[in-house]
Symmetry: C2
Subunit: 341 residues, 2 copies
């Protein structure tokens, strides 16, 4: 079968790989119908060295076969996979933190297939997959695919930042996660949503998703603008959707005393800035890798019933064989997020 | 009047200073009857350079006079002061985060008197002071004095770490705050309380306060022992009561996925370790400087009615003129915490 590999920074290829197949009785074989490129895929696209890696961790597909012990999905089911596979039964899965599953598996790692390919062997199929009660070619597919990662991650930023009705919120980053984060903050009732981003096409979509204000500068200028928008107090909730040292530092500077930073940008740094300022003002730093498996079921009704269209973050579609061009387009910021279909 | 000054690292003197007096109509003049030395006073005791500083931020006393606009305390009242003065009326005070008061004042700074002296002019007396309905020489005074900082701070560590019934808790540090933290964790219903500390006299008191286990090693050995005590999962709640880089790092290594670190040790470092590991396991870092003013009223009944004796952390008493020796004794770890009476 064909699948996407990252050979080195900037070197993405679609090649022949061994056919996906069931190895364990808890596996399911899924024929991929939609996948996409993640902002986090751009980190290795900028820096990868070493062995070639299988890519892709967001996908929707149709079940082709299941192992003998699989009971919740069956051949022909349309399923969405969260960006981490989990057994569904360990203590962390039962607590809704499937990303810390004792049998956690990451797509493309440890011998697992990646989502950017023709098919995937899904480990722990019962714990991992969620069945979608729609046809495989339904018009909702782009929005449903965002549940796999980007919308669940934006939602996690909002939940971690303790967004609730009446709160003043800032979203740091106008990538697809930040934009989905705006939508998630609005969904949870935020009163004011300040989007920090410098790409007008993106922040315009952010306004459509619910941003009430846009701050199109960085660093100290951004901090001053947020102060101006919040009577000098800062925001209750910061949703940090980038993961760079500077963006995290900005988060610590715009948060209100007693406020919370929900961080979902994969940290590209070892230590978190602002130990003393956040201490002095009792700022909480929460968040991390989103337990999408827990959120898919929570967010699914809003997508299925058409109340939310997070799939609007996809502004380009490529065929599997054109995936390398999709990476290039996202890296060059020609596209917010690229669908592979 | 006489008061304590820090001239330089290791150089503490009790000297004549201008008499405390009312300057503003919202002030109260308090004759100090009990004060004490804080673990945080040991940071400048190790490193202070520059101008001499007035010391002390924990005290109980008797009101001698009040300004014209003071309405909640009167001459003759026995009062406890939290370690930060606050106006009681700004948005942060109303939210219970008096340490971020818009008119916050710190004892010994900005021209304010320190608590380690004969008297203190208390700014924002209505917002700051809490009246104690007991005689000034009551036997409960040591425990009541802990509400000013050390017990409130231990409680803040427990609240910030989300301690509640059934939780497995670790307290990092066997200083007075850590020991009070053990008591606070037990008060909030923790199921297991692991105290990390290497001073047997202190950890023995910690056991009396409620610690179920003691880990008397540091670093990787401590992490391994906590793993052994928690079935390999780590603890739900870490109460970081030291503030050193190594103790914070240990906190990030013993916390369970999805768990919370409540930090109350004043950070002696700029950036918080473990950005990626805490991200991967959705660990929350909360806490900071304790809003003691909010907690005094919450904790007061347990102390007044004798259910808790946090004053047991005082294992030495000195007269005001002997304060320098009190600092030395705490710095040399001869005493856990020194009462000045």
């Amino acid at each position: 079968m064909r699948a996407t590999l990252m050979y080195a920074a900037g070197d993405v290829r679609v090649e022949d790989v061994p056919d996906a197949s069931i190895a364990n009785p808890t596996d399911a074989l899924v024929r991929v119908t939609r996948s996409c490129i993640c902002g986090s895929d751009l980190w290795p696209y900028k820096s990868h060295a070493g062995d070639a890696m299988r890519m892709g961790h967001e996908f929707i597909g149709v079940v082709e076969d299941v192992g003998a012990e699989v009971s919740t999905v069956k051949k022909g089911d349309v399923v969405v996979a969260p960006f981490v596979a989990s057994d569904g039964s360990c203590v962390f899965c039962r607590e809704g933190l499937q990303t810390s599953c004792k049998n956690v598996a990451f797509w493309g790692m440890g011998g697992n297939d990646g989502g950017q390919g023709e098919a995937v062997c899904v480990p722990h199929a019962d714990g991992t997959l969620v069945v979608l009660d729609v046809p495989a070619d339904d018009a909702l597919m782009p929005s449903l695919l965002t549940l796999s990662d980007v919308f669940s991650t934006g939602h996690h930023a909002a939940v971690s930042a303790r967004v609730e009705p009446g709160k003043v919120v800032a979203v740091v980053g106008d990538g697809a996660v930040g934009l989905c984060g705006v939508m998630a903050a609005k969904r949870l009732g935020a009163e004011q949503i300040i989007l920090l981003g410098r790409h007008e096409d993106r922040t315009n979509l952010g306004r459509e998703f619910g941003a009430t204000d846009v701050v199109a500068v960085r660093g100290k200028e951004a901090v001053a603008e947020v102060e101006g928008l919040t009577g000098g107090d800062g925001v209750h909730c910061v949703m940090e959707c980038v993961g760079e040292e500077a963006s995290f530092a900005t988060a610590t500077e715009i948060v209100r005393p007693g406020g919370t930073i929900g961080r979902v940008g994969v940290p590209q740094f070892k230590a978190m800035a602002g130990a003393r300022p956040t201490f002095l003002h009792n700022v909480t730093v929460a968040g991390g890798i989103a337990p999408a498996r827990a959120y898919i079921e929570e967010l699914l009704p809003d997508v299925l019933e058409g109340r939310l269209q997070p799939g609007r973050v996809f502004d380009r579609t490529v065929a599997l064989e054109e995936t390398a061009d999709g990476y290039r387009a996202m890296s060059d910021r020609e596209a917010i997020k690229v669908l592979i279909a």
